[in-house]
Symmetry: C2
Subunit: 711 residues, 2 copies
C-alpha cells in the first residue's frame, strides 16, 4: 500500500449535522438514551432537526417518536445509536440502507470483549463498505462539539465541560480524553472532542484530518494506544502540518507493560516505540509522555505559534525559585534573553538595590506587595525586545501578594504585550491569585519542570516548522512481509554501484590464481578478502575475512584458507567465491546505514556511528523514506557521529557532502524498488576525508520475490 489513494471523508455533517436521529431515545433520565436526549436538547444549542426512534414510544417529552429508522421520511445526516448490543447491527444496516451519512455507536460489548465481538465489528465494516455510511465507535462516549455547543454524547459531564476553545482533541479511549478536557478548569478551551472507542471505521486519523481543516480549531491533541493505519495517520498529520496546525500526541506502548495493556484495552498494536517516535518527530508531531504535559504544550500553542527562536525571561519574587527556573532553562538548552539597556534601566528604577535587574529578574518578596512595582517590572520584562516569553514561577500562595501579582500579570498581558506571560503555580495551595490567572486566560502550569519542558517542545516545534519540507510525502510502502531472501555482499555491492553508491572496486575470485590476479589489480595497496555467499551472514565469525593482504602469495594463501573455512560453514555450492577488494587507507569514520520496512509506517532509514556506538549506546537517527538532502544532513547532525565527521580533536574533517549525497541516492534506489526491498544495511560505511567520498565496505540486502538481477 502506498500513500497514493489515501482519502478522507468530509466529516462536517458528523461534527455539525443538520439533522440527527437518536435511536433508543428515552424519557428515563438515567438511561443512556435519556441522558443523550437531554444533552441534545436541554444542554445543546442544536438548531437542526432532531428525530427520535424507539419501538415502544410515539412521543418523548412532547417530541414525536417513530418505531424504526425505516419509518423516517428522510435520511438525516447523523444517527446516534443508544441501543442494546444485539440490536446494533440491524439498526446500522437500516441506517446505512436509507442513506444516513454517519452513525455514532455508544454501545459497548464488541471487539473489547473478545473473538465474537470482533466478528460483529467485521459486520459493521461490511455495512460501511456496502452502504457508504461511516461509523463512529462503537464502545465510545460520543462526540463533543463545544464550539457549536452540541453534545452528541450520553455523558453527564457534557453539562459541565462545555467551555469552547481552539483545541481539538482526538482520542481512542475516553478516560485520558476526559482528563484533558477537565483542564478547562485551568482555562484551557477545547472546541471539539472526538473519542472513537473501538474505531471499527472512522479513526483518530480521520478526526485529525477534519480538525486540520476546521476553522475553529488551531491546535490538535491526540492520545493513541496504537496507530492502526500508518499511511493514513501520516497523511492526516502532514495535512495538519501543511495547514499550520500543530499536533500534540501521547502514545502509550513504549514499554512491554504499556504495549500489553494498550493491546488488551483497545486491541491496537503498539508498534516499535523508537520508530513511532522518529516518525512523530519527522512529521512535526509533538510527542509528550503524560497528560499534564499534553495540557501544558497545547495550552501554550493555543496562545501563540512559535518561531523556534524564542528567548525567555524568568521573573520571580523568590531568588531561589528564579535560580531553579533558570537552571532548568539552561539544562533544557533554552536561552535566557539578554535584556536591552532600557529594560534594565526600567527595572532598576522600579526596584531597590538588592533586587536582580538582569535576567532572571528577582523582584524580591518585599517589593511585590506594591502593585505598581509588580506592574511596572512585569511590563518592562515582557516589553523587552529580546524577550519572547516570560516565565513567572510562583513558589507559594501568598494571599494578597500573589493576588496582586496575578492582577499585574493579567493587566500587562491584556493591555501591554503580546509576549506570552506564562505563570507556574508551584504550590499545592491555590487561592485568589491562582483563580485570577485562570480567569485572565494565563493558564498557569503546575511545576517549573513542566513549564520548561512545555516551552522547550513549543520552541522545537517552531524550529521544525521553519524547516518543514511542505511537498515531501512518505514512501509509506507497508506491503505485507512475504518470505524474504538475502543477497550476497558482492551482488549487493554491484547493485549499490548501479544506484550510485560507491564501493571499493572488488573482484570475486574463484580460485587462488584468480585471487592473485585480483590482488594485482588492486595496485600498490593492501587488499581485503572475504567469502562470498548468501548463506553466510557473519563472515568474520566463520573465518571468512582476511585483512591487510600485501602480496600475491598472501592472496593465494588467504583464498585457500577462506574457502576452506567457508565449506565448513555451508554447502560448497553456496559459495560464490572470495571477494578481493582494495583495503581503504586510514583515516575514515565507520558509519552504519540501514533501511528497513517498518510494518506500520514503511521504509525507515537508520544512521549512526559504527562499532560500540550503535551497539552499546543506541546512538542513531531515523527518517522515513524518501530522504531529501536536507533531511539526510539532519540525520547526520543528530548523532554523535557528527562530532567525529566534522573533525574531532585535530582530526581532519570528513566528507559529509558525499555522505549526504549517498544517503539520498540510497533512498532513491530503495524507493524505486520499495515493494521488493525488505532491508538493506551498509555496515560499515567508510566516510573518508573531505573530497574523498564514501565507500560501502560491507552490505547486505534482504528482498522479496524475484532475484534483484531481474529488477
Amino acid at each position: 500500500m502506498s500513500n497514493q489513494g489515501i482519502w478522507f471523508s468530509d466529516l462536517s455533517r458528523l461534527v455539525n449535522p443538520n439533522s440527527i436521529v437518536l435511536v433508543g431515545a428515552s424519557e428515563k433520565p438515567d438511561s443512556i438514551g435519556g441522558r443523550t436526549l437531554e444533552n441534545l436538547t436541554t444542554f445543546s444549542e442544536f438548531k437542526g432537526e432532531l428525530l427520535l426512534v424507539n419501538p415502544g414510544r410515539t412521543e418523548i417529552h412532547g417530541r414525536p417518536c417513530v418505531a424504526s429508522v425505516k419509518d423516517l421520511k428522510e435520511a438525516p445526516d447523523l444517527a446516534i445509536l443508544a441501543v442494546r448490543a444485539d440490536m446494533v447491527i440491524q439498526t446500522l444496516r437500516d441506517c446505512g440502507e436509507m442513506g444516513i451519512k454517519f452513525a455514532i455507536v455508544f454501545t459497548s460489548g464488541f471487539g473489547e470483549t473478545g473473538e465474537d465481538g470482533r466478528a460483529v465489528e467485521a459486520e459493521m465494516r461490511e455495512i460501511v463498505a456496502s452502504t457508504g455510511m461511516r461509523i463512529y465507535g462503537p464502545n465510545c462516549p460520543g462526540l463533543n462539539n463545544m464550539n457549536a455547543r452540541l453534545g452528541l454524547t450520553f455523558s453527564p459531564a457534557w453539562r459541565i465541560d462545555r467551555r469552547p476553545g481552539p483545541i481539538g482533541v482526538a482520542t481512542q479511549g475516553g478516560g485520558l480524553g476526559r482528563s484533558f478536557i477537565q483542564a478547562m478548569d485551568r482555562g484551557v478551551g477545547v472546541g471539539l472532542w472526538c473519542s472513537g472507542g473501538n474505531e471499527v471505521d472512522l479513526e483518530v486519523s480521520d478526526y485529525i484530518h477534519y480538525m486540520a481543516d476546521a476553522p475553529d480549531i488551531e491546535v490538535i491533541v491526540t492520545t493513541l494506544e496504537g496507530v492502526r493505519n500508518g499511511p493514513r495517520f501520516m497523511a492526516a498529520a502532514l495535512h495538519a502540518a501543511r495547514r499550520g496546525k500543530p499536533i500534540v500526541a501521547i502514545k502509550v506502548g513504549k514499554s512491554e507493560y504499556g504495549a500489553k495493556a494498550a493491546q488488551s484495552h483497545t486491541a491496537a498494536i503498539a508498534g516499535s516505540a523508537e520508530i513511532n517516535s522518529a516518525v512523530f518527530s519527522q512529521l512535526g508531531i509533538i510527542e509528550v509522555d503524560d497528560i499534564d504535559e499534553l495540557i501544558d504544550v497545547a495550552s501554550l500553542l493555543a496562545r501563540r505559534k512559535p518561531t523556534g527562536k524564542e528567548q525567555l525571561a524568568v521573573y520571580s519574587f523568590s531568588g531561589g525559585t528564579a535560580a531553579l527556573a533558570s537552571d532548568m532553562v539552561g539544562l533544557a538548552g533554552l536561552k535566557l534573553s539578554e535584556f536591552a539597556p532600557h529594560t534594565i534601566e526600567a527595572l532598576r528604577n522600579a526596584l531597590p538595590g538588592f533586587a536582580a535587574f538582569t535576567n532572571p529578574v528577582d523582584v524580591t518578596a518585599e517589593v511585590l506587595v506594591n502593585t505598581e512595582v509588580s506592574y511596572a517590572t512585569l511590563k518592562a520584562t515582557a516589553a523587552d525586545p529580546n524577550t519572547d516569553l516570560v516565565l513567572v514561577p510562583i513558589p507559594v500562595e501568598y494571599g494578597k501578594t500573589t493576588a496582586m501579582l496575578a492582577d499585574s500579570m493579567v493587566r500587562v498581558q491584556q493591555e501591554e504585550t503580546n509576549t506570552p506571560i506564562v505563570p507556574v503555580w508551584m504550590s499545592d495551595r491555590t487561592g485568589e491569585g491562582h483563580r485570577k490567572m485562570i480567569d485572565g486566560g494565563l493558564m498557569p502550569m503546575r511545576a517549573v519542570g513542566n513549564a520548561v519542558l512545555a516551552v522547550q517542545r513549543f520552541i522545537e516545534y517552531g524550529r521544525w516548522k521553519a524547516k518543514f519540507e511542505r511537498e515531501w510525502r512518505p514512501l509509506a510502502d507497508v506491503s505485507d512481509a512475504e518470505a524474504t531472501a538475502n543477497l550476497s555482499e558482492a551482488k549487493t555491492k554491484a547493485l549499490l554501484e548501479q544506484a550510485g553508491v560507491p564501493t571499493p572496486r572488488g573482484v570475486v575470485a574463484r580460485s587462488p590464481a584468480e585471487a592473485a590476479q585480483a590482488f594485482r589489480n588492486v595496485g600498490n595497496g593492501k587488499a581485503v578478502m572475504k567469502i562470498v555467499s548468501a548463506a553466510i551472514t557473519h563472515k568474520t565469525d566463520i573465518g571468512g575475512v582476511r585483512l591487510g593482504i600485501a602480496s600475491e602469495g598472501a592472496a593465494m594463501a588467504a583464498y585457500e584458507e577462506i574457502h576452506a573455512n567457508g565449506v565448513k560453514a555451508c554447502d560448497a555450492s553456496q559459495i560464490e567465491g572470495v571477494l578481493v577488494e582494495p583495503m581503504l587507507p586510514s583515516p575514515f569514520v565507520e558509519a552504519v546505514v540501514g533501511i528497513h520496512r517498518d510494518p506500520v509506517f514503511g521504509h525507515v532509514c537508520t544512521f549512526g556511528l559504527g562499532g560500540v556506538s550503535i551497539e552499546l549506546f543506541k546512538d542513531v537517527s531515523r527518517r522515513l523514506l524518501p530522504l531529501t538532502p536536507a533531511s539526510a544532513r539532519e540525520m547526520i547532525t543528530e548523532t554523535r557521529c557528527y562530532e567525529l565527521l566534522k573533525g574531532y580533536r585535530g582530526q581532519p574533517a570528513f566528507d559529509i557532502d558525499a555522505l549526504v549525497d549517498m544517503l539520498v541516492k540510497l533512498s532513491d534506489f530503495v524507493g524505486k524498488h520499495a515493494a521488493r526491498i525488505e532491508e538493506l544495511e551498509i555496515n560499515p560505511l567508510a566516510v573518508r576525508p573531505q573530497g574523498q567520498g564514501v565507500a560501502a565496505l560491507d552490505a547486505v540486502l534482504s528482498y522479496q520475490g524475484t532475484e534483484p538481477s531481474t529488477w
Copy 2:
C-alpha cells in the same frame, strides 16, 4: 582538611529552647518584631521563658521589656534578633558575651548586598569564634518547629502552616522551602523547617545532622544552591544514612544559568553538577529536579521505608489510564507484580467479564459506581502477596464516583493493609474525592509521570540502603590547590607498580643501542616505544609514539625518530629517554581510570570505556575515595563498558576481578598520598581476558609539593 575533626553542635536548644529573648520586640502588629512576638505567644505553645528587649519600652502587651540584652539577669538559650541591620553586630556581641547559646538573625542587608555586607558577616563569624554562640541567619525567615508548635519566625504564614509531621526541611533560600511547606495542603506533614538564609555560621549540614538525631523526624528534605563545606555536608549526610533517615535533595546550579543565578542569590558556589550528583548518589541522597518531585518522594518515604525490591500494582477505572501508567512503570524499569491466583480469583468474582483482572487492573468506570466493588477489588489488589505498592491513577474528577473510590481507598488503607495505596489525581479539576484522599492521609500526587518517578527513586533508595557500607567514610581531602607539576609516564608507571597496579614492564632507553637491547628483553613479541618527558603531554601529537616495533633495527630507527621529534617539541634536557615496552596482544578492553581532587568533596575516581565512549558519550561512573571492593565493582557495572567486559557478542569475558582489585589498590595509593596527589589518570587501562589481569598502558600524575621519589 580531612573528615577527622568534623563535629556538630547539639542544636536541641536552638530548635527547642527553654528560654528565648526577642530583641526588637514590638507591639506594632505589622513590624517584624510585632509579628514575631505574636507568633511566639498567640500562635505557639511555648512553655519556656520569653524575655523581651526594646530600648524604647518597659513592657509590651503586659510583658516586661528591658532596654538591652545586657540587662537580662540570666542568659536564655536563644536570642531572636528583629533589629535593624546597623544594630545587629553590637546585639550579637552582647548576646555572645553574656553566654547565649544561639542567635537567630532575621535581618537582611548583609552578604547578599555586596562587599560591605560580606565584611559584616566576617565580623559575625568572629563573634561565633570568640564567644561560642552559634548564629542562624542572617537574612532568613527564622525557624519553624511545627512538632513543638513553636514558631521562631516573623512570617505571618506560620499561623496557617503548622501541621506537624515526620518530615524535616533544611533550606537555604526561603521561597522554595515555603513552597514545600504548602504541600501540607496535600496532607504532607512537616515537623521542622530550618531556613538559614546567608548561613554565616550554622548551615544546612548542621540542620541535617540535627534532624538525623531528632526522634520526631523521619525524612529529611533539603534545597541547596551550593554546598559550602563538602566534608561537613558529607559527614552530616552519612550520619543521617546511619540513622536510617533518607535525605531528599534538590540542588540548583546544574546549568550555567542556574549556577550564576544561585551565586547571585546566596553567594554559594555551585560546584560541578556531575560531581555533585555522583556524591549525592554515593551517599544515598535522593536527588530530584523540581519542588513537586521533592514533595512526591518525601511524602512516599514518610509513609514507608523501601526495601529496594518493591513490585507495583496499577489499579484504575480507565483502561487508557491503566495502560499509560503501566507504560511508565515499564519505562522506568520498575516491576508490575504478578498477582497470586487468589487475587485474580477475588477480582474475577467482583468484576464483570470485560474488566481486566490481572495487573494492571482496569475495573472500568461502570463498575466503580458500586462502592462495594471498589472496596473489594482495591482490597484484593492491595492484599496481593506479590504487591508492595498500589498506584491508583485517577484521570478525572467524577463527582460521586471518585468520592466513593476515595472512601474505598482510605478504608482499605486504614483497615486492611500496610501496602501503600498511592493515588494520582491527574485532573486539573479537584473535588470531594480529592479532598477525601488528602484527609485520609493518602497524599495524592499530581501526574502519573511524577508518581512513577517518585516510586522509582523510592525503590532506588531502598536498593542503596541494602548495600550501604556503614563504616565507610570519605577521604574528603580538599586542601587548596597549590602549584602542581606533572610526572613523566615512566615515573608514574614506576609509582603504579609500587602501588600494586600492573604496567607493561618497560625500560627507558637513552640511546639507539639501549633501545635495541630493550627490544631484545621484550622477547618474541612486538614492542611499543614512547618519548619520556614530563614536558610533553600529548605524545602522539608530536610523533612521540611508535607501535608494532618488530625488530632491533626498527627499534633503533624508532629511537632516532622519536628523539628527533621530541627535541622539536621541548628542550633536549627535558627528555628522559624513550620507553620501550612489550606491546600487549589483543584482545583487551581499553578503559580509562582517573582520580582527581574535587575542591568541594575531595578525591573522586572516574571510570569508563576509553576512546569515543568517554569523549562522545560521557559514559562514566564516579565514586568518592576510598573505593571498596563493592563500590569499585559497582562503578564498573554502572557504565556500558561492563557490557564489553562481561563478554559481548561472543567475545571472551575480561578480567573484572583484576580490575576491581586494581581500582581498590589505586584508591589506597592515592589515599596514602592524598595531600600531594592532584590528579592521576590511566588512559588507556587494558583489561585483559579473564585470568590475565590488567595493565596501565599510559598514565600521568599531577602532584603538589615535593617530587614523588621522596614520598
